[in-house]
Every structure is written in C-alpha cells, then in structure tokens.
C-alpha cells in the first residue's frame, strides 16, 4: 500500500474538469475523465493504462487515440508527454482475424 502512496504523492487529488465527458478512445468509448481517474487509481505507464481501461485495445489498436491518451496521462502526472514511454509495439500492426493469423503459408505465392 505504501508503494502506491509513494507513486501518487505529488500529483494531487482527482478534480473533475468540464470536458471529462469527451470520448478519447473512439473504439472502446473511453472518456477523458476515465483516463484521468485511472492515473489517480495508480496507473502510471501507458501499458498499465491500456490494460486497465482498454484504451488502444479496440478495433483500430490505438492508431487513433494513442497520442491523445499519452498527452492526457502525462498532463495528469504533471510531466511532459515526451517523458512518458509509449506503450509497447507488438505484431500485428493492423487488426488481423485469428483464422488468417493462424494460416501461415509455407510456400510463398
């Protein structure tokens, strides 16, 4: 518990803002307020935020919202967006259906 408290010291309490209702992750319909609140729940890295809220886990895989989520999280942490490590980049780079992913062609067409 004390480790969490350590992390959270200095960023202040969660204060609601007038634009908290704005949708940021369009695919999963996650609002700015939810992202900001997640930081105050102890989520400090982009990968944690992604796992906690599912921002960037929808159909477009973060192509639309990634930068915005990063900016919002950074602002809540009172640091510059460039100081925050982006979420890990993994294959597939675009959404691929499981049946295609499992269809590895042995011979190149």
């Amino acid at each position: 518990m004390s480790k969490l408290k350590e992390r959270m010291s200095g960023i202040g309490e969660f204060m609601s803002q007038p634009d908290d209702q704005l949708i940021i992750c369009r695919c999963e319909e996650i609002t700015k307020g939810e992202i900001r609140k997640a930081v105050h729940d102890g989520m400090f890295t982009m990968t944690e935020i992604r796992r906690y809220l599912r921002t960037g886990m929808g159909l477009c895989q973060g192509l639309t919202c990634a930068s915005m989520v990063k900016r919002i999280v950074a602002r809540e942490l009172l640091i510059s967006s460039m100081e925050l490590e982006p979420a890990v980049s993994r294959a597939p780079m675009r959404p691929v259906e499981m049946k295609i992913f499992g269809n590895e062609e042995k011979e190149v067409k």
């Binding site: 915005m68 982006p86 780079m93």
Partner: protein, 529 residues
C-alpha cells in the same frame, strides 16, 4: 521463407524511390504496401508541386506517382499491394498479411517508409458522422470522385488545410471558414491567398467549441482563444455546415521500428527512430526514409528514399564507399536546398519578420490569408510597366523556381538560391504568353495591362475551376480578400496543353482596380446568393 536483398515497407514516394535506386545497383527488391494502389499520398495530390525542376516542380502529384511506378516496374522492382507488414523482427524478418494468409520474408536490408498518420483534436461532438480527416476528404474527392459534403469548415491552416480547402472548392464544395487556434497561418502564403481571394474567411486564434447535430453534423460553433489558449467569452460564431474537416498535423507511423528494437526518440514532431544522414537506424541494415523519420514533403521523401536505397546497396557491398559518397552528394545538396527558406525545419516556431532580402513580411498574409494592398508594393515581383507585364505576388522565401524557367523572354529572375523572391527584370519585354501564370504552382502570378483601353485595365489570372467562364461573360471582380469590388467582363480564355489544366482567363476591369482585382465570379452566381 523467401529472401531478398532489400525489403521495403511502404510504396509511397520514399519507398518507391529507395527501391528504384537499389534495383538500379543490382539488388533484388520487394516492396509491400497495405493499400490497394501504390504511391502513398501522391495520388491524392492534384496540385502542382513546388521546388526545382529536379524535384518535379510544376508537376501534379498524381503524375509524379505514375512516373515513379513506371520507373519501378522498368527496374524490375516487385511491388506487392494489399500486403500489410504486420511484424518486423530483430533479424530483419518480416511477417506480411497477404490475402487470407501470413507469409514470412527475410531481408538482408530493410527500409521502412511507412509514412505518417493524421493527428487528432477533440471537441464536443467530434465523433459525429460528418467530422472527417483532411486525408479522408482528399481520398473521397481525388480517388473516388465524391464530394465529402456541401458546406465544410476546415480546421487547420498548415499546408494540408490550405491545399485541401482549395481542392474542396475544385470539387464543387463550399468552404465556409478556415479555422486555426494559432495566431498565424501555418502554411505557405500563396496557398492561403488562393483560397482567400475566392472568399474563404480565415479565423485565426479560433478553435472549435462544438459540432452540432444528433445523428450527424449540421452545424458548428467556434470561439476565439487568447495567447494562453483560453476561450474568450462573447466571441462565439455559428456556421451551418454538414462537414468538419480536421487538418491538424501528421505524426510518423513508426511502430514497426520500435518493434524491431531501433533506438527511438520522442520529439515535438513525433516518435521517430534515431538515424544518421543516410537513414541508417541503430539496427544495422535497417534504414528509414520519408515522413516516418520526420514529417516533411513528398519532394524530401523522394530524396531521402534515394539516399537510403543507395546506402542499402553500399551496406551489402553492391557499391563501394567512393560510389556511395559520389551518388548521395548530389541528393544531399538537393535536400538541403529544400530545407531552406522561411519554412525550414530550423525556423519552426520562430517569428520571421523580414525576408532574406530584408523586406518586411506581410503581416496580413499571416493573419488573414491575403496580402494588403499597401504591403504588396514592397516586393520585387510587383512592378508597373507599359503594356502587359507580369505581377508576381510571391512574398515569402520558399524553395521554388518554375516561374524563372517558364519565361522565354527572361523577364523573371530568382537566381542560384531558389528561395529568393522572384523579381521582374524591367529591361526585358513581356510578350503576354501567360506561361508564367500557368507555371506558378502557387497561382501567384498575374499578367496586368494597366492601359488595355481608355479607362480599363486587363488582368489575366490562373483559373482551375469548372465551369470555365466564357468570353463575353459579365461578372464581378474580387480583391485579394474575396470582396466584390467592381464589374468585370471576360475578354479572353486560354486553355493549352502546356498549361496542364491551369486555364488563363483575362478580365477587363476599371483602370483604378488594376492593383486590387485578383479573381472573377460570374454574375449568375452572384444572383443566386
């Protein structure tokens, strides 16, 4: 698993240029692109490019794309479309989704030229149908012959916002306003002037408050912001629109490089791989070219592509270090030349007060999108001569010189440094052929004859809309801000193959309007409004 000397991810200007240079030096090259058609953004660009002849200045983007493709095919480059590179692994192995399966490829070298994606900006209602990206507008108009909407508000005054606004008008849409939160226009002044003279109002220091509509956009509210981006109360303005177009910048799509383990750096311009001047990343054998390494233009992308293609050839030993040095020297010089002038990367964020020649820049151009009449006289392209003569309203240092090449009589001079402002040589005689008017990619050159007839002047201007006015039509002349200032009659319309779809229309206006009148609208259109 098939092995290639070079695998290129992205068949845009950078990727194709890289593939061509490598193939020319004997490498076996394959290019993958996720789209149905190659050429990246090139095929959506219907305007004439800037730069010098080597940079394909004066040529329309889609034609450059077509030429690049032909060259790639001639060199034996394999281009696979509808092929998505979904993974890039440490040993330069790529997995590609082609059709309904995944295929593995190994490259001895790899060039990532995946370009950029559009930035986002949020406001109340931004997810409503009717809010689209600028790229979406271009795709609909220039690839699918569709109007994105009828009444559009454009957000963003960089080159993309300005150029797409003009393209929207060419497609028959009405651009009701161009809005930017910044206090000055971000793109080239000539691009802004093209749309200002057609009557598009500029709202700088404004931002979108809300997109109205329940099921789709039917209106928009904007408001003014102060220097700390805070809304100023009482400044709200409402527009009836069915489309809101977002042109708020691009960011490199560099995820593949991060996945491959390249050292990355977060910059104000985006998350990019660390690389040297040849495009080599921290992973030996992996190179980058084009927008993915930093947002610039298609012209720079093509040069960067060539450099990295040649560098890949040297890396594999197809050419030696001497040849590498010789081959890229010319390319690097051209790249430096493109990165000069008022919009050079080093000038970003700086407030430029004077041109390289020491002339005060037009402040009105930056704030409202057009040059004030009192400001235009300072510039070397503005002269008064007997008879017909060119008037060049190009007032910023940008790397561009097709006008100098266009004039057979050598009336226009720019010189060695292509960012210099074009000047008129008053000792040379203008024959009124109009080649300069048609050749200016910024549509900033006019032919003026102050003494056409007793009490009347004749002004020739570039016209790229339909319907084309007819000789004899009566209408109104508009000034640089798009305001109707006097009656005008069309006395000549020239359409030539050499003009490449830039028609020249000549209008007769009262003599005292010769320094103001810069656009023409038909009377019939005025009556409809």
């Amino acid at each position: 698993m098939e092995r290639y000397d070079l695998i290129v991810a992205g068949a845009g200007p950078a990727g194709l240029s890289a593939a061509i240079e490598a193939a020319k030096r004997g490498l076996r090259v394959i290019v993958f692109d996720e789209n149905e058609k190659p050429g990246g953004q090139l095929f959506k660009q219907i305007h004439k490019f800037f730069g010098s002849k080597e940079d394909k200045a004066k040529i329309r983007g889609f034609k450059i794309g077509k030429d690049l493709l032909e060259e790639a095919n001639k060199c034996g480059v394999e281009v696979v479309l509808n092929a998505i590179v979904i993974g890039l692994y440490l040993d330069k192995e790529v997995t590609v989704k082609i059709g309904d399966g995944i295929q593995h490829f190994k490259g001895d070298t790899l060039i990532v030229a995946t370009g950029a994606s559009e930035n986002m900006v949020t406001f109340d209602g931004w997810t409503l149908p009717g809010v689209i990206g600028a790229g979406a507008a271009q795709t609909m108009m220039n690839l699918h012959h569709l109007k994105p909407g009828n009444r559009i508000l454009m957000l963003g005054s960089g080159n993309v916002g300005l150029v797409v606004s003009f393209q929207l008008m060419q497609a028959g849409c009405e651009v009701v306003a161009l809005v930017d939160a910044a206090p000055k226009v971000g793109g080239y002044g000539v691009h802004a002037s093209k749309i200002a003279r057609c009557g598009v109002p500029f709202y700088l220091s404004h931002t979108i408050i809300k997109a109205e509509g329940e099921q789709f956009v039917n209106g928009v509210i904007i408001g003014e912001v102060d220097s700390s981006w805070e809304m100023i109360s009482g400044t709200q303005k409402h527009f009836d629109v069915d489309t809101i177009c977002l042109a708020v910048g691009l960011s490199p799509m560099s995820q593949l490089l991060k996945m491959a383990g390249c050292h990355m750096k977060d910059t104000p311009g985006g998350y990019i791989p660390e690389c040297d001047e040849k495009g080599a990343t921290s992973v030996p054998g992996i190179f980058v070219a084009g927008d993915v390494s930093g947002i610039e233009e298609a012209s720079s992308a093509m040069i960067e592509g060539r450099i990295s293609g040649i560098a890949a050839a040297e890396y594999l030993g197809f050419i030696d270090k001497e040849e590498l040095k010789k081959s890229i020297e010319k390319q690097e010089k051209a790249l430096i030349s493109l990165r000069e002038g008022m919009f050079a990367p080093e000038n970003r964020g700086r407030s430029i007060k004077k041109t390289e020649e020491g002339i005060d820049v037009s402040i009105n151009l930056l704030k409202k999108g057009y040059i004030e009449e009192t400001e235009i006289e300072r510039f070397p392209g503005f002269t008064k001569c007997k008879g017909v003569h060119p008037v060049i309203e190009c007032t910023q240092n940008i790397p561009c010189n097709p006008c100098q090449e266009a004039c057979v009589k050598k009336c226009i001079k720019i010189g060695e440094k292509i960012t210099s402002l074009p000047a008129i040589d008053e000792t040379k005689e203008c024959i009124g052929c109009g080649m300069c008017v048609a050749s200016c990619s910024g549509q900033a050159i006019f032919l003026v004859n102050e003494e056409y007839e007793q009490g009347y002047a004749a002004i020739t201007l570039p016209y790229e809309f339909l319907p084309l006015p007819e000789v004899g039509s009566q209408g109104k002349a508009l000034d640089r801000s798009g305001k109707e200032i006097c009656a005008a009659k069309i006395i000549d319309v020239k359409t030539k193959k050499a003009f490449d779809y830039t028609h020249l229309i000549t209008m007769k206006v009262p003599a005292d309007m010769s320094r103001k009148a810069r656009f023409f609208v038909n009377s019939r259109r005025c009556e409809d409004e």
